[in-house]
Symmetry: C2
DNA sequence: CTGAAAGCGCTAACAA
DNA sequence: TTGTTAGCGCTTTCAG
């Protein structure tokens, strides 16, 4: 079936295409009678305006691009849920770019703005280089970062330093002195949260005069299994930590697995605290640091929508707080509790 | 910054727009010298073709629409991961339509095809009425259903009857005779998996002469908490079930919660089996029926890609099997194991 | 091999 | 109030 065009409607209704366009777009400058004729023609032809043509003519795509890395990461998905919830309710379509490789990252970041594919861009959990930001600026496509920082861009971020601090402090207050931290690679230039949480960890330790033990910090690629292995390494130490702070809940689950493999009782033998408060953390009763994942997506897309209707003079930053959620994987260490 | 157009490039290179177009599209009918001139102009102007214009001209959107209900549902997300993985690697953009309300369902299903927004449509876990399918057919946009059935459409589905059967059979073989089933509403016209799994449950019971006890089947809206409540109802019965088959892992988690609230030991006091094998099921060691969630997304999008390049004479159906994953929430009932 | 020109379906400015 | 027309930026004949 070949779809009806505005021209077919015009012919059928015996009017010009301009008039049809006016009716479609609800212009008041059409007489009741003509409007009705056009409406009838639209009805019988089952006409609906071709969006692509409309977009070209308007110079607007009515589309928001969302770039996410690792669609496999539960916290990214949770943010995305927030994004979806507001975009679905808006007049915009949402096109999703999943970035898993460096090549794809580059093509997305370069081509999407340049080809005028989208009216606005939301970038989730992906840190940009200055050069990339420059190019973005030049394309003047409104852009908002969620869970990623850059001085020149609008962003919704979480206070990771505070989160790392709270987590570590919680363990210290329970009486732990030997506290490990397992995380993604600290030197990943695109992952500031890892560093920030580490900073918080460090701050809390320093505050009470516990000196940093480099061997208590392990890093690897993100993942449950990697975390499991790092935990074993940590527990193989002469004087192993009595508590482990995991960079993410996913990793905390790996820690728990390692503990189980060694028949270690959590929290009696080993305290574990995660980060994110994903759903699984609740199921598994993992003590964790909650960050507003869903909400960060909501706030980010709302900010973008605002930005698209009226650009701000200077980039706006929204900082979301974190919160300790005490559950069953943390307790005082044996030597203290006993 | 106003982006360069093909005309700017043509002027700069001193050629016609047609030639530029040929270069962009890799037509061999351009001399090496001209090609180089054009390439240079493109380079200096940082030109990239406007996608919307290209789409209008070609009459193709280079876009695949994906309609999903309940982006909150972990198994839907898992399928989506599969979809994303193949679309991201193709030349198509993916636009995501999240459908949470009836109104949105209707607008999506009606407008997306009619407005020529997409070249192909993937519908996940959403069952269509005949009328909706008719309209889809008339729009002749290639469509594939994932986890949803319809006689006239291409589809990737899972053998839910078999899954329900396997689950129930497993419990029977462990010695259970009083087996409950908690699920979404059976009479939801858009949710055939609920009915199918129920059919499997029924078949397995009938096979060994256990008569169906209506009070052993509870239904409610999907959700963990609803499942928790249904479980309490079941356990309040005079002779409560010794095993519960939950329609989904999410619901199985609710069952587990109820058991914990009653200080019931799982699996000693109560066996629980779920369905889907989402990640949480693994963490929580829930015995479940695995279905190829990710794979269903992969298969569905590949089928769609195929369909878009050459339509099939008759709708294709891919049936994915299910598999029992034994973990720690099922065991023989006390009276038998005793 | 290359340029000119006619669309793709719509919007909006301009006349009438 | 309405019809006509010139684009939007690209692709693709059709001549040459």
């Amino acid at each position: 079936m070949t779809t009806a065009t505005i021209r077919d409607v015009a012919r059928k209704a015996g009017v010009g295409v301009g008039t049809v366009s006016r009716v479609i777009n609800g212009s008041p400058a059409v007489s009741q009678a003509t409007r009705q004729k056009v409406l009838d023609a639209i009805e019988t032809l089952d006409f609906s305006p071709n969006l692509v043509a409309r977009r070209l003519s308007l110079g607007k795509t009515q589309t928001i691009g969302v770039i996410v890395p690792y669609f496999t990461n539960p916290s990214v998905v949770e943010r995305l849920r927030g994004v979806v919830s507001v975009i679905a309710a808006s007049d915009y379509d949402m096109v999703l770019f999943d970035v898993e490789t460096v090549v794809r990252r580059e093509t997305c970041l370069r081509d999407v703005p340049r080809r005028r594919q989208v009216d606005g861009l939301l970038i989730v959990s992906l840190e940009l280089t200055d050069e990339e930001v420059d190019r973005l600026d030049r394309s003047d496509i409104p852009t908002v970062l969620v869970d990623a920082r850059h001085p020149d861009l609008n962003q919704v971020i979480v206070d990771n330093v505070q989160g790392g601090y709270i987590a570590t402090k919680h363990l210290i207050e329970l009486g732990h002195r030997r506290i490990g931290y397992i995380s993604d690679f600290l030197n990943d230039p695109f992952n500031s949260p890892v560093r920030d949480r580490y900073t918080g960890y460090y701050k809390a330790l320093a505050e009470v005069g516990i000196s940093l033990r480099p061997d208590y910090h392990r890093q690897a690629l993100h993942g449950r299994d990697e975390a499991r292995k790092m935990t074993h390494d940590l527990l193989d130490l002469q004087d192993p930590p009595t508590a482990i702070f995991a960079y993410s809940d996913t990793q905390a689950i790996g820690v728990l697995e390692a503990a189980r493999e060694r028949a270690l009782n959590v929290p009696a033998d080993l305290s574990v605290i995660g980060f994110d408060d994903i759903e699984a953390a609740e199921y598994l009763n993992i003590t964790t640091i909650q960050q507003a994942l869903f909400d960060s997506g909501v706030r980010g897309s709302k900010l973008l929508l605002e930005l698209m209707s009226a650009s701000f003079p200077t980039p706006r930053k929204i900082l979301l707080p974190t919160k300790l959620i005490k559950r069953r994987t943390t307790a005082s260490p044996r030597e203290v509790a006993g």
